[in-house]
Subunit: 385 residues, 2 copies
Amino acid sequence: MCLWGSVMNKFDKAAGLLKQHGIDAWLISCDEGSDMHSPYFLGIKSHARHFIIIDANGNHQVIAVLMEAPMIQKAVDAMGAKVAVRAFNNNKEMVALLKGILARPTIAVNYGEDSLQKATGFADHIRAGELESLRLIAPGTRFVSSVDLVAGMRMVKTPAELAALREAVKMTMEVFESIPTWVKVGMTEQEVMARLHYEFFKIGEPSFEAIVASGENTADPHHNSSGKRIAPGAFYVDAGIRHEQMSSDITWTFWIGGEPPGDFLDAYNALYEAKRVANRHMRAGLPTALADQECRKYLEARGYDHKKLFVHGLGHAIGYDVHDVGPRASSAAPPGAVFEENMVYSNEPGLYWQGRWGLRLEDDIIIKRGECEQVSYNHEEPIVF
Amino acid sequence: MCLWGSVMNKFDKAAGLLKQHGIDAWLISCDEGSDMHSPYFLGIKSHARHFIIIDANGNHQVIAVLMEAPMIQKAVDAMGAKVAVRAFNNNKEMVALLKGILARPTIAVNYGEDSLQKATGFADHIRAGELESLRLIAPGTRFVSSVDLVAGMRMVKTPAELAALREAVKMTMEVFESIPTWVKVGMTEQEVMARLHYEFFKIGEPSFEAIVASGENTADPHHNSSGKRIAPGAFYVDAGIRHEQMSSDITWTFWIGGEPPGDFLDAYNALYEAKRVANRHMRAGLPTALADQECRKYLEARGYDHKKLFVHGLGHAIGYDVHDVGPRASSAAPPGAVFEENMVYSNEPGLYWQGRWGLRLEDDIIIKRGECEQVSYNHEEPIVF
């Protein structure tokens, strides 16, 4: 799999943003997947301690452990990016290399100021002890938050990124359509999850650990796929493929074994229509809270107590991360937040009855000036098998 | 799958450590898997923002988003731990709940002081912006590092944890033995990785993303399984199952298609013997650097330039995390570091020729006062298929 695909050289895009914000460099400090901006920039996953330095003047560097340096050099070369990879053998050499590259007036790091109280969590990756070390190693350097850089890089998608997303969704839909042919009563939820991953890896990779829920477990929106054997009843799959680094995130709710009861069918229909209502309010310039509010109004009018039954927000940004950079499409979104053209969001209303069952229908949409582009689909009637 | 299994109630064990260190509480701040101590304590994976507060006096609490609170309450109840789960609807409620529970003199957080320069990375999970928030929300509280707590909980394994590890290894060995029956020339590395995960999930879960490398890719110790189709030649699988939260981590090197060349067979034999040499120096009371040094001496005597060809340390601690808490079994380990009884380590010498091939043999061992217990195995001769 070519992780970077047709995506443009991100180092150059970032250098442009650095100049615009008057910052000398952007440091990504990463260890065993602690910052997704490492695969974002390198196109591969490095599992050991490494640092990526994006330089406003194009002098990009990576500091990596000797064991991984050749793999990283190969990856950045294949991308056509001019990046010097420097290897270290031990911690002392690593700190010495760091000292050299940190000797600049202002460096951005992936730190979100006061991230529990402000909406800066999307940039908050560096660990407290790491940032403390950087300040001790380079006492003359001012470390600033990368919030504006991360938003500038990832919030609005490029045409190439949107093309990758459409492909990711198409691949996911094909696997979803096959579910009724191989999911059987008596399989465990976990076995279904593993089989989904297997199908996904044959053509791409899972964008997150697939959620498979059956029976009462469907009442938990974020259920952990378990060893529970599937029995006749409600069943949902929340999963997606990542293709050229773009993630899809789709939920289908099924009914297994016999005819679904009337109240299940009614709830399914209400959600299907509520999703259409929401779609009409997901467009450039509108507040990101509005679609959620309208969707809840609709469910209320259909007789559903949304406060009790619809226990999560309507949607979230989607992209390099399955929960990507951008305000939530939810009533709890900050007042000034509005959709912009070519943002990508999930639209996923749900209704959950604890101890009984739950339903969620989730599609991925691209924000446009007019009507949104719904990239994935749910069936108008639940699939029964 | 029962994630907590037979493992003892960790809340009570942690409360004991807190009293011992004169700390009032231990706060785990977690969002989308940012801290593995969340599944460690809860026995399930919570995907949304939540906080776990372990109290020296047993008044344990979890603060979780409304959507996940029932799932978490179910999990802690099933574990037999007395933990109150409090739900929040929005950020304002979350901060208010936090204010209440942070009003104590001293709270440990998973922060490793100066973690790039000191060996505290194993405890460094909280992000810089999160810790900043905690200090702003509770200005009267002293936040200290949890380094001693994490080490006290996880470095030396309990009998139940060792039993789970042995089972995890046994399950992994069964899948490894099946590899020659289903891996075929022409399959992609990624397809093999996905099939491994599928087999793992049927009985447990992967302890990390399996590394599958073929041909030249075997020269990269941390290769990303790729879309490359497997051709006759060297082939390695580095993978493991997590069972009751304990991870196995095993590497076998194979030769696919025809007879392996003499220099491959010689390197395999040298590594097999080097691993035995290392085993003899992995025992309680010995420095964790010694086995690596002795292993390198042996390889040197066999005519291999270990500095150029053996580009990683001999081993690492294994447990809840595949790279667990404990000093590295490597020449770069801090001088005073010694093995203790019932620590678990990987023993994984490797030889890599860039552009040609590489080999690694990795087994998991339990440190004892006398000879170590080698839990997994590699075959004395490479499996050829």
